[in-house]
Symmetry: C3
Subunit: 146 residues, 3 copies
Amino acid sequence: MLDQIALLAAVTVLGVLEQAYFALQVIYARRKYKVSPPDTAGPPEFERVFRAQANCSEYFPIFVSVLWVAGIFFQQGVAAVCGLLYLYARYQYFQGYTLSAHGRLGPMYFSAKVLWILIGLSMAGLLVHFLSLSSFVWRMEIPSKL
Amino acid sequence: MLDQIALLAAVTVLGVLEQAYFALQVIYARRKYKVSPPDTAGPPEFERVFRAQANCSEYFPIFVSVLWVAGIFFQQGVAAVCGLLYLYARYQYFQGYTLSAHGRLGPMYFSAKVLWILIGLSMAGLLVHFLSLSSFVWRMEIPSKL
Amino acid sequence: MLDQIALLAAVTVLGVLEQAYFALQVIYARRKYKVSPPDTAGPPEFERVFRAQANCSEYFPIFVSVLWVAGIFFQQGVAAVCGLLYLYARYQYFQGYTLSAHGRLGPMYFSAKVLWILIGLSMAGLLVHFLSLSSFVWRMEIPSKL
Ligand SMILES: N[C@@H](CCC(=O)N[C@@H](CS)C(=O)NCC(=O)O)C(=O)O
Ligand SMILES: N[C@@H](CCC(=O)N[C@@H](CS)C(=O)NCC(=O)O)C(=O)O
Ligand SMILES: N[C@@H](CCC(=O)N[C@@H](CS)C(=O)NCC(=O)O)C(=O)O
C-alpha cells in the first residue's frame, strides 16, 4: 500500500520545504525593506517577493490535489516526475518574479503547462477507472441475464 | 480500494478546474483594467474579481479536506453530492461578486451551509468510527476478563 | 485501514473548525470597522485580524500535508499530537496578532517549530520506508544471484 504513495509523499514534502523557503524569503524581505506586518504594501522590490510567495501558496493545494489524484489513478512515477518539474518551475518563478515582474512569465507558463498535464493524467486515470468499472458490471450482468 | 475514493477524486479534479477558471478570469481582468503584477489595487471591478478568486482559493484546501474526511468516514456518494453543490455555489459566488459586492452574499451563505454539512458528516463518521472501535475493544475485554 | 488515519482525520477536521472560526472573526471585524469587501485596507485593528486569518489560511494546506505524511509514514499518534500543538499555537497566534503585531511573534515561532518537527518526522518516515524497501530488494537479489 505505502509503496503506491511513497513517491507522492516525498514530492509533497519537497513542496512543503519549497514553501517554507519562500516564506523565509518574505520574512527577510520584510526586514530588508522595513515592511512590518500587518502592512503588505512597500517598494516594488518587496511587493514582488510578497506576491511571488502569495501566488505560489495559492497554487500549492491545487498542485498537491492533482499530484495525488494523477499518482493514484494514473501512475505514481509519471505524476512524481511532473511534480518535480512543477516545483522546479515554481522555484524559477519565485526567483524571476523577485528580479522583475516580467521575469515571472516564462516559469509561470511552464508551471501552468505541467499543472495541465497533471490535470489531464488525473482525468485519464479516472476515466479508465470508471470505464473499466462499468465494463466489469457489464460483463457480470450479461451472463446472469442469459 | 480505489472505488471508495474515485468519486471524491473526480470532484476534487472538478474543483481544480474551477480554480483554474477563476485564475484565468483574474488574468483577463488584469489585462482589461491594466493592473500589472505585483499590483493588486485597481478599479472596484478589478478588485471584486481579484478578491473573488482569492476568497475561493482560501477556502479550497478547507473544502478538499472535509470532502475527503466525510467521503471516507461517512459515505462517499453523499460527500460527492455535497462537493458538487459546493462547487456550484462557488461558481455563483464568483459570478455574483464579479457583478457587485452584494451579489456574493447569497452564494456565500449557501456555500457556507454546504461546508457545515460536510463538517457535520465528517464529525458523525469519525464519531461512529471511534465509538464502534471502543465497543469492539469492550466486547473483546469482557469475555477475556470473565 | 481506517484506524491508521482516523486520528489524522480528526485533527484535520479540528483544523477546519479553527479556520472557520478565524474566517468568522474577519467577518465580525469587517462589520465592526466598516471595511466592506472588496476592500482589505482599514484601521490597523482590522488589518491585524485580516492578516492573521490570511496567514493561517496560507499555512493550512502545508500543515495538513505534513500532518498526513508524518502520520502515515512515521507514526499516527505522534503526528496527531504535533497537529494539536500546531492548532493550539495558531489559535494563540491569531489572538496575539489581534491584540498587537508583536503579539503574533511568540506563537509564530512555536508553530514554526512544530511544523519543522512534522517535516522532520515525514522525512524520517519516508527515509526508513525507502531504505527498508531497498534492503528488501537487496535481500531478494543476493540469494537469487547465488
Ligand atoms: N505571508 C507572510 C509570509 C511569511 C510569514 O509567515 N511571516 C510571519 C512572520 S513575519 C508573519 O507572521 N507574517 C504576518 C502576516 O502574514 O501578516 C508574510 O507576509 O509575512
Ligand atoms: N492571484 C493571481 C491569479 C492569477 C495568476 O496566477 N496570475 C499569474 C499571471 S498574471 C501571476 O503571476 N500573478 C502574479 C501575482 O499573483 O502576483 C493574480 O493576482 O494574478
Ligand atoms: N478573507 C475573507 C474571510 C471571511 C470571509 O470569507 N468573508 C466573506 C463574507 S464577508 C467574503 O465574501 N469575503 C469577501 C472577500 O474575501 O473579499 C474576508 O476578507 O472577508
